[in-house]
Symmetry: C2
Subunit: 367 residues, 2 copies
């Protein structure tokens, strides 16, 4: 069957494709109102440059091919965030900071991840480059929430994490063997109390620190004897303050999965009725070509999960225009907001054209 | 320089990326109002299936890679029209005809064409599958014009051609050696009177047939002694009738380039101020998996050419919100349609954030 698509690829058909496009418009439209202008990075780049800006796991999953023009290897982007960082660091390197950019487009992965079987995904989001302050992070989280609300997503909740938590503690008040940091992080992420105790008993309270935001924040404050986490905890509190009552808030300070390249803040976004997370973000660092580092914060949304949950659905009222109708009348109905579907031959019917209404005697009649 | 992109690839930056997205929304929004719902075909397919539906020249230019999952060769689409045909023939094969679909998305080519140096293009358009009647073709041309008008494109002109003209004449009233048809078509396309005369003197009047629509149509009617072109000429006249006074119309019956897979009708779209054509379309045939053929008609637009000509430009009024402003005030300004850009640190200025207005004492003041 030549109609079958490779595993992990699919066509979006009506009405899903329209719903997806409207979700993108709503999300990027809301971001645009906050000053985030759109960038559309190239779909393919030199593999060497792209790989240098990606986590190694992501770089390995890029589709590669040899370019007959340059005789070099090109890669199709497996992620857009890293491309936005490249643009901010190069062509927009002279632009005053912070730079606010939004994006939406397909990304391609040679292998599916464990979490999702898709190999082509529509990624959309915003990045604020040049700052990763509490104010910058609060703006990014706020824009993500507003963008989702604009797209009709309700009952949003945000789960915060502190990606560099273990590193900060291990290099400060609770020293452990540096070779053990990764293992400890893993066991904390898995909430494996026995495993944590085996490596460093002092970290045990972190196993129980996750939960509803305020209570978890209090537990973490109580744990933070040495004050090494004070700025992070104050920052988290300030960010949460601006969202209280509007979205559900939780804190899972040792959640690590997928936040490998985030610095002090990470967050996952959920919505009722949607399985799994619908987006994520956090603070991170972009590297300029001269090696200089620059702080950034951003979020990405996964459009397909949101649309699959029935959000962003479109109105499919369609008005059937019989053969011989004055074109000016159909145009007037479109100007009034109708979708018109013209009969093009004698046998055509409203039913065949999935129409809900019929244009008769100058009026739209429900069928 | 890792920031350089491969030849033929580029990033769209602000404000070009936003202008491009708005052009897409306007074009597909206008088409949606005529009943064209969106399909988003997969970016990659099995190479074998994709190549079978493309002109061989296009298939050769597809980026290919080996899929580690299926162990088969996949190709990134170099064209979306063929994918829309696949969808109409397979997953939407049971859908009553005609099927109306729209699309917009990137296509990738391993080699640039002679006409354009780009290897990544944004292709958008509409296809009407199941009919290629005069009424169907008139609808498609009309939707193309309306979509471009909705996007702010002015002074549109359409150049019609009859892609199968030479074949029809050669197999009818003006027989020539079948082996000579391609050569004759080429020389007619090049308006090479000497070359045409060498092959078949009877075709010479066609060299002079191109020009403003009505005059060219009259010359072609006078030439059509045998009546072999009557249905085509009547159809062309009916299509043009619906567009008169609204767009410029020309007829170049032997124009062939790029219309190799069109059947009786082809057209190119131009706009004043835009170099080269901004779109094209025509009637063609899609092939089902059982070998059955189905008529179709459609158009594609080239977004980048349109945006490069300054069309679809966006309003960049930006309101600077000083540090410490009540967030509710900024939200009220956004609700009133403003783009707000919040200061996130003390040193930030309206100038640095490319703002045109400043929020002061509850008002937007022009800077």
């Amino acid at each position: 069957m030549t109609s079958l698509l490779p595993q992990g690829f699919r066509d979006r058909l009506p009405p899903v494709a329209d719903a997806t496009a409207r979700l993108e418009q709503a999300v990027l439209g809301a971001a645009f109102q906050h000053g985030y202008e759109r960038a559309d990075p190239a779909l393919a780049e030199f593999e060497q440059g792209l790989a240098g800006r990606l986590k190694s796991a992501t770089a390995q999953d890029a589709v590669r091919f040899v370019d007959p023009v340059s005789q070099r290897t090109l890669a199709i982007r497996p992620d857009i965030t890293a491309q936005i960082g490249r643009i901010a660091a190069t062509r927009m390197g002279h632009h005053p900071r912070p730079v606010r950019l939004s994006y939406a487009g397909p990304v391609l992965r040679l292998r599916a991840s464990q979490l999702s079987p898709e190999r082509e995904l529509l990624q959309m989001g915003c990045e604020l480059i040049g700052l990763d302050t509490v104010a910058a992070a609060a703006e990014i989280v706020g824009v993500a929430v507003e963008a989702l609300e604009a797209a009709g997503v309700r009952d949003i909740s945000i789960d915060f994490t502190l990606p560099d938590l273990v590193g900060i503690l291990a290099n400060g008040p609770l020293p452990i063997d540096p070779a053990q940091i990764a293992a400890l992080s893993e066991r904390l992420d898995a909430k494996d109390a026995g495993g944590v105790a085996e490596i460093a008993r002092a970290y045990l309270p972190l196993v129980e620190a996750a939960g509803p935001f305020e209570a978890a924040h209090h537990r973490l404050c109580a744990f933070d004897a040495g004050g090494a986490l004070t700025s992070r905890l104050d920052g988290l509190w300030a960010i949460a303050e601006g969202l209280k009552g509007r979205v559900g808030l939780t804190l899972d300070p040792t959640e690590r999965h997928g936040f490998e390249y985030q610095s002090w803040l990470g967050f996952s976004i959920f919505a009722s009725g949607v399985r799994g997370e619908i987006g994520r973000g956090g603070t991170y660092t972009i590297v300029h070509e001269d090696g200089a580092e620059e702080a950034a914060v951003g979020f990405s949304l996964y459009a397909d999960a949101i649309v699959a949950a029935g959000l962003g659905e479109i109105d499919r009222r369609r008005l059937f225009v019989p053969l011989g109708t004055d074109p000016a009348l159909a145009a007037a109905m479109r100007a009034a907001g109708w979708v018109t579907v013209a009969a093009l031959e004698a046998g055509d019917t409203p039913e065949a054209q999935l129409c809900t209404h019929l244009l008769a005697e100058g009026e739209a009649r429900a069928l």
